[in-house]
Symmetry: C2
Subunit: 272 residues, 2 copies
């Protein structure tokens, strides 16, 4: 893969890269479409990265469907699909880690303590292997995107990072590989994340600036649905992810909710 990338770069072509854990959906495809426009050569990686799953999380159960993924890759005119094995990326005596001091201590990082270390590590490795000029990450994983931008700046990666807007089902549920876990009943319930975001957006449009009030109302609404457990609802600074009391400029509204055993996330930028 490194040799291929070197050869592409020497031809003066621009490599666009979309790293994924596979089980592709239209959200991933929108990133690939963006990559197709941004680069002359489009690389997709598919790797369910063990180091970003905590103990008791769903690494083994994470959905996989390589055949369908490769069909979608072909449909999106991907030039190369990189599918390393776990052993290739993490051999014996592996001992290097990457850590950020501040950004992981918010949102998903609080309930998934080593998750973003695993993300930073695998993204660094994939960047060194795929050697992209530009890499595209979905904005559904907002904190992940913020952490990657910070890491790229701090470590002087010569790579442009682009975000791709959240893609939603017709009814508004944010697309996620983990939606595959939901029963028909849970699928209906899962819509409450997006509905709660919309309620908040409406309240802010009507002049509400008190974030405690907004979060309380969202929590009440979500808890009125069966089989839900709120991990967090946060209104925070879009750069630092520090909590905000009053909405005076654009803020990030992000939430994580378990529907049954499935942990779902969603977010939205709110402007006063």
């Amino acid at each position: 893969m490194q040799a291929r990338s070197e050869s592409i770069r020497k031809q003066g072509k621009r490599i666009a890269f979309v790293p994924t854990m596979g089980f592709l959906h239209e959200g991933h495809c929108s990133l690939l479409k963006k990559g197709r426009v941004l680069g002359d050569d489009l690389v997709l990686s598919i790797f369910v990265n063990p180091t970003q799953f905590g103990p008791g999380e769903d690494y083994d159960a994470y959905p996989r469907d390589m055949e369908k993924d490769l069909q979608l890759a072909e449909r999106e005119v991907v030039d190369a699909v990189f599918t390393p094995s776990r052993e290739e990326l993490y051999g014996s005596n592996f001992q290097t880690g990457i850590e950020l001091e501040k950004l992981p201590n918010h949102l998903c990082g609080l309930s998934r303590p080593s998750h973003f270390q695993g993300v930073a590590l695998v993204v660094t490795k994939l960047f060194h292997i795929v050697k992209p000029h530009v890499a595209i990450f979905g904005e559904k994983d907002y904190q992940q995107l913020a952490i990657i931008r910070q890491m790229v700046r701090d470590l002087d990666f010569d790579i442009q990072i682009e975000g791709g807007a959240i893609v939603r089902e017709k009814d508004g549920l944010a697309m996620s590989s983990r939606n595959a876990y939901l029963s028909a009943e849970q699928r209906k319930t899962a819509l409450c994340l997006f509905q709660a975001l919309q309620k908040a957006r409406k309240a802010v449009a009507q002049g509400e600036t008190d974030t405690a009030k907004i979060i309380n109302d969202m929590a009440f609404f979500i808890q009125s649905h069966p089989d839900t457990e709120i991990d967090y609802i946060s209104i925070c600074d879009p750069q630092t992810l520090d909590s905000v009391d009053r909405i005076q400029k654009s803020v990030l509204l992000a939430l994580a909710v378990k529907v049954g055993k499935t942990r779902l996330i969603d977010n939205m930028i709110l402007s006063p």
Copy 2:
């Protein structure tokens, strides 16, 4: 610098890189000579990296002489000298770190707890900026070289790492920018590091395999010199740096000794 490196790489040229903290001596020059042979384009960096100095260490006092360094760079036919400022490399809100689990818990890492994190961090940054095909590091800093090799393997850097043999003064003292700190009297005393290594080599050549015995004899010899304080003397596995009781295959003999306030290191590979 990144733009320059990209352009050189696109020309199909091979970039050789020697990262240093400046105050160059013949040890550095031997690395540059090696780089001159290994690459078409030779890059030297000069940066006294604050993140690899601990509290109370000699960051401020570390010797600097940019004018002489640039003369030596010219003599060694260096193509580019990279001299970033502290602010350029570590801007505000910097928060990313790199850590290795095992290799730093030996030798110099024990008395300089965050030293190798700082080394791994700055080397990663410099690799991303200079984009070398090959990088050359001195074997005097044996543990540093081992850690960089491990990090390059773990993070999939597409960079060949080469070691350069220790260069010694005529009497045997390993060349080091820190030798500049020594008084005339201390300069004489400092030779005891190399002499202790030679004594050990001789003992092993005569069949000694008991590392405790060898280390004891070295310590006794060093302590017989005024103004010395042993940090460590270690006989260990050259790959893992784990201590060895009996010399049955090639081992690393490494030591750190303070002469006055100046901490000096040296090492040698011993074969039974």
